[in-house]
């Protein structure tokens, strides 16, 4: 009985691992890189300089938006921080009655500003943000499909981890054995060492990753209690409903004092983002959200002020246990709260996971090659797996290197430059496959 359990788990581990191993390898690698997405973005935008004061930079950004986008539905402002030197703004343009909102290109509804509120001219790039989005949205395919695919892969990963603990039951004893140059045994050692090295990390990161998109994958908990998901989200985040403009013009108060009040309310934590709805109107409201870098929970507290008077309107209500748990789980996955030491630990654990998946894939072929009837002429399935292994494991890192090189080499004035940086990544990847 015991032995057959291990056998069935070994089978489950081998095949769940192989089915989604290539995708998981890519998710692990880009997700790991995304722990440094701000730093990568910074490197890919060498034009940006200087750290501006967040409060005055925010005021300058509001003046910029006031001058150009005074009739927008809302403005979003991300003040500069220690990890990101620029002020990022984007806005939701005024809706036209009876016309569906048109899809616009990124540059038409967003801008990057310096501390004085002047747009900075920088090369067109999606920077580290692309790696972060690829981690769960992939590319060249509709986002919703990609997220289901990624979710299925993560579920396979969860099962592969659980069955893997049973399959390689001696991993804890074997942890200190890393035998080089012994073929299959070495790959197995590498697989085991990287697996044990950060086993709790893999379990937690896989589970919390599923949690980040849980209501998409498992909508039944919400459906059991609510007629539609909208009523559920409205109950969770009240006051986000659209308030129509009154038509009475009223200037916004100065935001610096409000940022001070918000920060003091949160025990000195910085303001992470600011939303202004109905700017310039008497119904304007300023919502400030706590920076994600100051606590583990991903859903930062927020505080709402009246636009014209600066009067405190609302504070985000205390969350219940389950919601707080969800917020912390998502926060642990994203690691935005992490300081440098913890961030590097995240990164190293992510690299460990990438190697674990990669060595597991190689193990599949190494193990089978020996058993083939004629090792020199493997059958089609074996050749396919072997080729895909090499393409995934060598191709993606090579693609990433090309992505970074393209950032420096492509002409600055090139049309669709950011998209071509991304294309160069995938062209390299495809090149390795062939």
């Amino acid at each position: 009985m015991k032995e057959s359990f291990r056998q069935s788990m070994a089978w489950l581990h081998t095949w769940t691992g192989l089915m989604f191993g290539w995708l998981l390898f890519a998710m692990f690698l880009t997700g790991t890189a995304a722990y440094f997405q701000q730093e990568i973005s910074r490197w890919m935008r060498p034009e940006l300089v200087a750290n501006a004061d967040p409060a005055s930079a925010t005021q300058a950004a509001i003046n910029y938006l006031q001058a150009r986008q005074s009739d927008a539905e809302s403005w979003f402002i991300t003040p500069p921080s220690a990890r990101n030197p620029a002020t990022e703004v984007f806005w939701q343009p005024k809706k036209v009655e009876g016309k569906p909102p048109t899809r616009r290109k990124r540059g038409e509804t967003s801008a990057m500003l310096d501390g004085g509120g002047h747009p900075v001219t920088i090369r067109e790039t999606r920077g580290g943000f692309f790696l972060y989005r690829f981690h769960f949205d992939l590319h060249y395919m509709p986002v919703i499909w990609a997220r289901y695919l990624v979710g299925v892969a993560a579920m396979f990963m969860l099962v592969a981890i659980l069955s893997g603990i049973v399959t390689h039951k001696k991993i804890f004893a074997d942890f200190f054995m890393l035998r080089f140059g012994k073929g299959q045994r070495s790959w197995l050692d590498a697989h085991n060492v990287t697996a044990v090295f950060a086993l709790p990390f893999y379990l937690i990161i896989t589970y919390t990753g599923l949690v980040t998109l849980a209501t998409q994958y498992m909508p039944w908990g919400v459906m059991a209690n609510y007629a539609s998901p909208e009523t559920f989200f409205e109950e969770l985040f009240p006051g986000r409903a659209d308030v129509p403009r009154s038509g009475v013009a009223a200037p916004l108060v100065s935001v610096s004092p409000l940022m001070g009040i918000a920060s003091r309310t949160w025990g000195g934590a910085a303001v992470g983002s600011i939303q202004v709805t109905n700017p310039g109107d008497s119904t304007a409201a300023i919502t400030m959200t706590r920076s994600a870098s100051t606590a583990i929970g991903a859903r930062g507290e927020s505080i709402v002020f009246a636009g014209p008077s600066g009067k405190l309107l609302d504070r985000h209500a205390q969350e219940g246990g389950a919601l707080a748990t969800q917020s912390v789980m998502v926060g642990i996955h994203a690691g935005r709260f992490a300081d440098w030491a913890l961030r590097w630990l995240y990164f190293l654990s992510g690299i460990g996971g990438t190697i674990m998946v990669g060595s597991g894939l190689v193990l599949w072929t190494v193990k089978r090659r020996a058993k083939l009837p004629d090792p020199m002429q493997p059958h089609f399935g074996f050749r396919l797996v072997e080729r895909l292994n090499i393409a995934a494991i060598v191709g993606l890192p090579a693609g990433l290197a090309t992505y970074f090189m393209a950032n420096r080499l492509l002409p600055l004035a090139m049309a669709d430059r950011a998209e071509w940086e991304i294309n160069s990544l995938f062209l390299t990847w495809a090149g390795v496959l062939l």
Binding site: A10, M218, G221, F232, G320, T325
Partner: protein
């Protein structure tokens, strides 16, 4: 390491594996969905809280069911287990919706 051979498996054996995989992936998901819906309705918390709590637990439930299905001794047991879980959870959910309360 006792890994079943990949190429030597008879057609019967492959069919068996396919049946288990379908039972685990689809049957497991349906049972999980019902369990999550039941939990969301029956946990003694605010509806929003109960919905989220049930959703957070869902992946652990699903993974547990998948492992159990591959562990089970025979396909008959898998079918019996899935069937009774479906009946039980379905009845609980039906009664809960019938008696009103939330929604």
């Amino acid at each position: 390491m006792a890994v079943p051979p990949t190429r030597t498996g008879s057609a019967r054996q492959r069919l068996h594996v396919l049946a288990r995989a379908i039972a685990a992936i689809i049957g497991g998901y349906v049972v999980t969905a019902l369990a999550v819906a039941c939990l969301a309705r029956l946990l003694p918390m605010r509806p929003a809280e109960a919905s989220i709590a049930a959703t957070l637990a869902s992946f652990a439930i699903y993974a547990g069911i998948i492992v159990a299905i591959f562990w089970a001794k025979s396909m008959l047991r898998v079918c019996m287990g899935l069937g009774s879980a479906l009946l039980l959870l379905g009845a609980a959910l039906y009664l809960s919706i019938l008696t009103g309360g939330r929604l």
